[in-house]
């Protein structure tokens, strides 16, 4: 059972955790006793079938839903049911078409009460890091799919101060763009010391990106297994073809 899982072994400080989260809708329990930890600089995947409650869990972490039981801790502070601390990113970029890319990315800062000018300056200073330099004045419909996802990611980054919750962010991209985005994401994450919780149902994506993988399953959904990908980062470009990759994939298949 989930409660008997070994505690995670990362030796860095925990930035985000949830303890014994339970949530039900209309009397139907969706999540039961979910425990998750995310350490600084880690990328942790939540892997599981659709409908298992992964997105509900993200809404709880983002403070949009109040869980019946359990609590969410961000850098040690209780943020259960408090929106505005952590944001997330979806497969849809949800950039507002009537704002420039710069204003879109500056929105979380403006919501937080920064002056428009300061918010723009802060957002703009990250454009190079996110590969968006020169797009400030453009509107979202002038950008390619990959660029729009980068802009959405920058917006998430600016709203969450070092933690990103990504809900299948790359699943709408074609395979080539997707693997380019993977490489880019890992690289940018390293550079800006971002910790990431990542929802996916794609095993390959989970193995390539993750330091650890939580497998979510069952009804009600809970963490059924945890798997560490010990492979050091950055991982070689042909990691997906290696024996080690296959080894992890076999274990995942067995766990699922």
């Amino acid at each position: 059972m989930a409660r008997d899982l070994p505690m995670n072994t990362c030796n860095k400080p925990v930035v985000l955790s949830c303890e014994k989260i339970s949530k039900s809708f209309d009397g139907k329990t969706i999540l039961k006793d979910v425990n998750i930890r995310l350490c600084r600089g880690e990328l942790v995947c939540l892997l599981g079938q659709s409908g298992v409650g992964k997105t509900t869990l993200f809404h709880i972490l983002a403070g949009l839903y109040q869980p019946e039981e359990g609590r969410v801790l961000l850098n040690g502070a209780d943020v259960t049911g408090k929106p505005g601390k952590i944001s997330y990113m979806l497969q849809k970029d949800l950039l507002l078409p009537y704002m420039t890319v710069l204003d879109n990315t500056a929105m979380p800062l403006i919501i937080r009460g920064e002056k428009k000018k300061d918010a723009r300056a802060i957002a703009s200073s990250h454009f190079a890091d996110f590969g968006l330099e020169g797009c400030q004045k453009q509107y979202p419909n002038q950008l390619s799919g990959g660029m729009r996802q980068r802009a959405a990611l920058l917006r998430t980054y600016l709203s969450s101060r070092g933690v990103a919750l990504l809900d299948e962010p790359f699943s709408a991209l074609d395979t080539l763009t997707k693997s380019a985005m993977h490489r880019w994401y890992l690289e940018v994450m390293e550079r800006i010391e971002l910790s990431t919780l990542f929802i996916t149902h794609d095993m390959d994506e989970a193995i390539v990106l993750s330091d650890r993988i939580y497998i979510i399953g069952g009804r009600p959904g809970t963490v059924t297994a945890e798997l560490s990908i010990e492979e050091p980062k950055p991982r070689p470009a042909d990691f997906m073809l290696s024996e080690a990759f296959l080894h992890y994939k076999r274990r995942l298949v067995a766990l699922l």
Binding site: H59, A62, G63, L64, P83, G84, K85, I86, S87, Y88, L90, K92, L94, L96, P97, Y98, M99, M107, P108, I111, R112, Q138, Y139, N141, Q142, L143, S144, G145, R148, S159
Partner: protein
């Protein structure tokens, strides 16, 4: 350059069709089969238009005043109603069917009532314009508010945005194109509404003038008024399109292939 050429060629067929229509009209009048007091020729309509121009402008001024006042009040009421209906869903459920049903009431039927209630001044005309312009804008705004992706609202809530900000930064701007579609229709309704109300009684305005020249059997002047109403309506719709362009700069920038 090619784009300009294209836009000219796409406008060519309707212009040609109109020219043919006018030519047939002129020919029918030229043969003398219809007496000229029944169907004035295009030439005499144009002559009447030019001769009456100062008078027409005077009456147009009154009609436009009514139309703009009514449209302005209509827009304001539409914003308030639609925003309240969007905010409070019981209100939406209660009022939406009534709004739709209210559109089956013919304008021409309530105009005499308004006049008996409010007299022959501008008040009944403005009221009628409000009634006709209110609906398309309200429905446009409601559809616009509803068009907002609930995921976008959740996302901005997760960033800490409150209802007011979500309304001002997301719902309102997202519904602008719906609003302008409603406004375009309403702008032409406004003129027609004012003219209809003037028909049924009043002291000035294009509708009043129309009933006068009709009673005098000056059909050339009658046609001249109709021509002016068409021109004014087109100008108003063009004005709405211009305002929309200025208000929604993001629509102008071409979408890139992704």
């Amino acid at each position: 350059m090619t784009k300009k050429l294209q836009s000219i060629t796409s406008k060519l067929p309707p212009v040609l069709a109109l020219a043919v229509l006018i030519a047939v009209w002129a020919a029918v009048c030229g043969f003398g089969s219809i007496p000229s007091y029944m169907l004035p020729s295009p030439g005499s309509v144009l002559k009447a238009f030019v001769a009456d121009f100062p008078l027409l402008m005077e009456h147009a001024g009154a009609t436009l005043t009514e139309a703009f006042a009514g449209l302005g009040i209509g827009i304001l009421l539409a914003f308030i109603t639609a925003s309240l209906m969007d905010r409070f869903s019981p209100l939406y459920r209660a009022l939406y069917p009534l709004l739709v049903v209210s559109q089956t009431i013919p304008t021409i039927a309530i105009a005499p009532l308004l006049i008996s209630w409010m007299g022959f001044g501008m008040a009944p005309k403005i009221t009628l314009v409000v009634l006709t312009t209110f609906f398309p804008i309200t429905v446009g705004l409601l559809d616009g508010y509803k068009s907002v992706d609930p995921d976008a609202v959740s996302l901005y809530r997760s960033m800490g945005a409150k209802n007011g900000l979500i309304f001002a930064r997301i719902k309102l701007p997202s519904s602008m194109s719906y609003f302008f579609s409603g406004l375009k229709i309403s702008a032409s309704y406004a003129i027609v509404g004012a003219v209809i109300a003037e028909w049924l009684g009043g002291f000035e305005g294009l509708g009043v003038y129309m009933t006068r020249v009709k009673k005098a059997y000056s059909f050339d002047k009658m046609f001249a008024v109709i021509l002016l109403i068409v021109i004014i309506s087109l100008l108003l719709m063009g004005l709405v399109a211009l305002i929309k362009r200025a208000a929604m700069p993001w629509e102008r920038k071409g979408a890139k292939e992704s």
